[in-house]
């Protein structure tokens, strides 16, 4: 079995396709051929379909529900209402944020599209006919869609179930529509700095309500086997194990009798983290009927009811010396959570990690307060392609720095440079409580500015302004700058949990006798390419080719427990678990190799894919040989086999960063924009697969483009959702998507086993302020300070009109 093929070290490294390899995505063979297996592809014998009667009103009392006619529709088997679920205690369910949410309308509805009744039928068509036949009588109540108005003394009471409860899951409530106040930092010290500062820039920055809008909406298939008492639940779950635990806690079914499977998932972006009424109703319907029940949202259901993102009103004050050194930051957020608090944040962080809002800057003192508010809008507030509320924080600080630059009459690039945390300040303790692991912001910044010829752009912009004033052009040029710092990879169990579940993650590896392997993880890919990249991490750790390693996720019966995929936590947490499990494999392999080579463990050194006797390079055992021996050779003192499991509790978060620059042309007369150039430099620490990173950056930037330039969930005064279809909810096509130039620096995380930080969300976090700052910058010469997103044609036109540029 000795492999004696002479092969160079470089060739052996190449063959592994380990960390750093541009390995092609192994998932794509099935996805590009339409052979993926998504929830809606699952078909089971006798399977039924469930769908919802939804409220047309944003706030109304449910006077009566008459299901008689619906039950007569051919194919309709049952119509569930809150009255049916109440005896089981399932008419309400806990949210991930410590609140509770109606599964089906219990006496009233709080937002348009809220679930009122669940129609179960033999097929989708019958269910749709049944929905139309359910007669619901509503009595309309006054609607509140503005979080500031919701806090007025005479505002209507939205959550009657909470009346009199003046302490919520996150402390005292100040008003009947108030959820929590979350404070960080030093209020008195910050206010003292503001009072004595040379310059204070003050502004309200709104990050509008939008939606993750994954290509595949949410759905599930619940199948209760009444013979063996086992419940199988297929679903679009970003956290299958957490869903299993939640289902067990809600239903009382013991956890070993629940099997949750996340099959292929067509994008999540935070939308598929939470638990939805559809899951509960499908499970109940399966128990009631004894048949599998499928529920799959349509696009309107998805946009109007399952988790939205953002809706943060961020009032900021930033203090500086007249030379531009930032001396303090104050922020108050009014957070619109909709009808229920269904954010998906770690328990101790009701506003997520918004306290990363000091950004990339060395700000000595800061204060943050966030007030959560109920309104008559859909619940959610999830992290849409970002770590918990990090994109809000990045947008806030990157707007405040631009506004400060205006106040100081300074160049915004230079203002950033003089305030960046310096490379020798890491690990850096921020004024709002974080320990930044590593960074080199100045190097990244200078590289980015040089790459776009920043000086040249500013010169061109100044000339353009002059030409505009002379009437020679109607187009302005905007240069959008951003330097963002993320906080991802939640997180250390000591302060990060969701519903009490610690936010570790896991990897279990089994090496097969012939030198291939299977690795199972507690995460679940939704398009990130885990099967590709985790195999690469492992290939580098254990010296078996990535092509010989199967990565499996998403089945709670086989995968080790983990908290799932969101908040860029897969690589920082499960990726670390993978490396650590790999190292356990390698440690045992070293003992086996020592036995086979008849030397002491310490006489061996690791070399790519083998252990070599120190000083005798011709004496070695490859990992493939060791794998075979581990099963088939009796080795004194060692159990047979080669397996390992690691549960990784990260010592800290990781802090990816980047420098983005957007150059935008704006037609002042029509509000139409054109992205002339977009440069994105990312530093995500160690780069596992540069091709996948580039794909992630392109995707994240395109979502950022959407959010900044048009995408929103908008309501009218009556609480009607005005953007419930893709006609009005902007999702860019190839046509609207510009060319992106990607670049990188590499500053490894000092505490992550392979130095990786996570990258999937960086482009959304950094992209939104880059696009938005470009719009603002184009009008800076004419006096614009702040104009809220999304910057669609009419809002850009409105800026120009307001500045008197239409003559």
């Amino acid at each position: 079995m000795t492999d004696q093929t002479p092969i160079s070290r470089e060739d052996r490294v190449e063959k592994l396709k380990g960390v750093g390899s541009q390995r092609k995505r192994v998932e794509d063979a099935r996805f590009t051929q339409g052979k993926g297996n998504y929830v809606d592809d699952i078909k089971m014998p006798g399977m039924l379909f469930g769908d919802f009667v939804r409220s047309p009103y944003a706030h109304a009392r449910v006077v009566s529900i008459n299901t008689e006619a619906a039950l007569k529709v051919p194919g309709v088997l049952a119509v569930l209402t809150a009255a049916d679920l109440a005896p089981l205690g399932l008419h309400w369910m806990p949210t991930l944020a410590g609140d509770k949410q109606m599964v089906l309308a219990d006496g009233k509805v709080l937002y348009q599209g809220q679930e009122v009744a669940f129609v179960v039928a033999t097929d989708r068509y019958a269910a749709a006919d049944g929905i139309e036949a359910v007669e619901v009588e509503y009595s309309e109540l006054p609607v509140v869609v503005d979080p500031f108005k919701a806090l007025l003394p005479d505002a209507p009471v939205l959550r009657e179930d909470l009346e009199g409860k003046m302490v919520g899951a996150h402390g005292p409530r100040k008003h009947h529509n108030h959820i929590f106040t979350w404070e960080q930092g030093d209020k008195d010290a910050t206010e003292a700095v503001l009072a004595g500062a040379d310059v204070v820039a003050e502004e309200m920055v709104y990050y509008h309500r939008t939606h993750p809008c994954p290509l595949e909406p949410c759905g599930c298939v619940a199948s209760m086997d009444k013979v063996n008492g086992k419940l199988t639940l297929y679903g679009t779950f970003q956290a299958p194990h957490a869903i299993r635990t939640v289902v067990s806690l809600i239903s009382g079914i013991e956890e070993h009798n629940i099997r949750v499977i996340s099959p292929d998932i067509g994008g999540g972006f935070g939308n598929k983290v939470g638990a939805y009424p559809g899951y509960v109703c499908s499970v109940v319907a399966s128990i009631v009927t004894g048949k599998p029940v499928k529920w799959v949202e349509d696009r309107m259901d998805n946009l109007m009811t399952t988790a939205f993102a953002r809706d943060y009103w961020m009032k900021g004050k930033i203090a500086a010396t007249k030379e531009g050194k930032i001396t303090g930051l104050w922020c108050h957020v009014t957070a619109d959570h909709g009808g229920f608090d269904a954010c998906a944040d770690p328990t101790k962080f009701p506003a997520g990690f918004f306290n990363i809002c000091t950004g990339s800057y060395d700000i000595p003192v800061a204060y943050l307060a966030v007030d959560g508010v109920y309104t008559n809008k859909a619940p959610g507030g999830v992290a849409y392609r970002c770590s918990f509320r990090v994109t809000e924080a990045a947008y806030f600080i990157e707007r405040m720095v631009e506004i400060l630059a205006i106040e100081l009459g300074m160049d915004a690039a230079e203002l950033r440079r003089i305030n960046f945390i310096k490379a020798d300040q890491f690990p850096y303790h921020s004024a709002l409580g974080w320990e930044y692991d590593s960074g080199d912001y100045h190097t990244a910044w200078d590289k980015a500015l040089a790459a776009v010829d920043y000086e040249g752009l500013r010169k061109e912009q100044a000339e353009r302004v002059e030409a505009f004033k002379r009437g020679e052009t109607r187009k302005l040029l905007g240069i959008g700058l951003t330097h963002f710092t993320e906080i991802v990879g939640a997180g250390p169990v000591k302060n990060c949990d969701i519903l009490g579940l610690g936010m570790f993650d896991s990897c279990e590896i089994r090496i097969h006798p012939t030198g291939s392997a299977i690795a199972r993880l507690g995460t679940i890919s939704q398009g990130q390419g885990h099967a590709t990249t985790f195999a690469q991490i492992l290939a580098s750790e254990i010296g078996l080719p990535a092509d010989s390693i199967t990565v499996e996720e998403g089945d709670t019966d086989t995968a080790p427990y983990g908290l799932g995929t969101y908040g860029s936590r897969s690589t920082p947490v499960a990726g670390a678990a993978t490396a650590m499990a790999g190292r356990k494999i390698r440690a045992k392999a070293q003992m086996i190799a020592a036995y086979l080579l008849e030397v002491h463990d310490n006489d061996l050194e690791w070399d790519v894919d083998r252990f070599v006797v120190k000083g005798a390079p011709e004496r070695f055992k490859t990992m493939k040989e060791i794998a075979f021996a581990s099963y088939n050779q009796a080795i004194p003192g060692l159990e047979p086999g080669l397996e390992a499991v690691s549960y990784y509790d990260p010592p800290n978060m990781t802090y990816p960063f980047g420098a983005y620059i957007c150059v935008m042309e704006i037609d002042v007369d029509t509000g139409v924009h054109e992205i002339r150039q977009f440069y994105a430099l990312d530093d995500c620490g160690t780069r596992i697969n540069p091709m996948i990173i580039e794909g992630q950056v392109h995707g994240g930037l395109t979502e950022a483009l959407a959010i900044a330039m048009g995408q929103e969930i908008a309501y009218d005064e009556m609480g009607n959702c005005k953007t419930g279809t893709l006609m009005d909810f902007f999702v860019p096509t190839a046509w609207e998507t510009p060319h992106y130039t990607t670049d990188h620096t590499t500053t490894p995380s000092p505490h992550h086993p392979i130095g990786a930080k996570g990258v999937g969300e960086s482009p959304n976090v950094g992209g939104v302020p880059a696009f938005s700052n470009a719009v603002h910058d184009a009008f800076r010469a004419f006096g614009l300070r702040q104009s809220h997103m999304p910057h669609d044609h009419w809002r850009i036109w409105k800026i120009a009109n307001g500045l008197g540029l239409h003559g």
């Binding site: 029509t670 009005d728 609207e736 669609d792 009419w794 036109w797």
Partner: protein
């Protein structure tokens, strides 16, 4: 997004289709490309008990150019318009406009007839057909008749077509003058925030014919006779174009929607109309 139950009919000739419409009255609708009707049915905003699919009626498709006249069958797709060489010569504005309708997948299915007949103010072809002074050919139980595109539209989704009539073809004179179709939209697939078709013929530096029509700026397409008249007889200088734009914008009546409020649309319409005229003049 599931339509209510309906009967599906697929007649092989126009007479059979008319017979089905006569039989089922206002419970029946004809189906062309389906890109307006099917979504309305899926949203249950349109209840159609009998759907009469026209795709098997071969006579309804195709583009004919004879004797200075272009005739386009109602079931001709937007894609057919784009790839037809003769049409690109005979009426280049149609190709330019068709390329601005939705995306290739929609254009493979969406038909000229459906676009024209439906009366959706967001559709591009109605304004274009008014710009070209097209004639619409309708067939019903009592035979065929012709209606000028400029007389066809009454209000949103309300047209001169009776419930039991089918639009079979559209015809217009070859137009090789200067042309332009300008459209501002939020994204591919969107209806226009403002759109304008312009046809301008110049002879010896003087405009001899001009036609200006607008899309999605009122509840019907708007052809402005005054805008065209403001150009005819002039050298299409700034003053004439100002007058044409003023006349055209006076004729529109946009409403507020997610694209923006009325003031914005009025302003953008003025810009788009001016650009269309300028580009048409530059090609004349």
């Amino acid at each position: 997004m599931i339509p209510a139950r309906f009967e599906y009919h697929r007649p092989a000739d126009v007479a059979s289709a008319i017979a089905l419409l006569s039989e089922h009255g206002d419970e029946a609708r004809v189906l062309a490309g389906g890109h307006s009707l099917i979504p309305m049915m899926k949203l249950r905003m349109a209840a159609v008990s009998h759907l009469v699919d026209l795709q098997d009626i071969a006579d309804l498709s195709g583009i004919r150019i004879e004797g200075g006249r272009v005739t386009i069958g109602a079931m001709t797709t937007q894609h057919d318009l784009i790839v037809h060489d003769g049409l690109a010569q005979a009426a280049p504005i149609l190709r330019e406009a068709a390329l601005q309708i939705a995306d290739p997948q929609v254009r493979y299915m969406g038909t000229v007839g459906g676009n024209v007949a439906n009366g959706d103010p967001g559709n591009d072809m109605p304004g274009l057909m008014q710009c070209l002074d097209a004639t619409l050919h309708l067939v019903g139980p009592d035979g065929s008749r012709e209606v000028a595109a400029r007389d066809y539209y009454e209000a949103a989704y309300m047209t001169a077509r009776a419930d039991d009539e089918i639009l079979t073809a559209i015809s217009f004179d070859v137009n090789t003058g200067g042309y332009a179709y300008e459209k501002q939209k939020r994204k591919i697939g969107d209806y226009a925030t403002a759109a304008c078709g312009a046809l301008v013929t110049m002879e010896g530096g003087t405009c001899t014919a001009a036609s200006i029509a607008m899309t999605n700026l009122a509840d019907t397409p708007i052809w402005s006779e005054e805008a065209g008249a403001a150009l005819v007889g002039t050298a299409c200088d700034t003053a004439a174009i100002d007058a044409a734009v003023a006349a055209a914008t006076a004729a529109i009546d946009p409403t507020e929607d997610n694209r923006g409020p009325v003031a914005f649309k009025m302003h953008v319409a003025g810009i788009i109309i001016r650009r269309a005229i300028l580009r048409a003049v530059s090609r004349a």
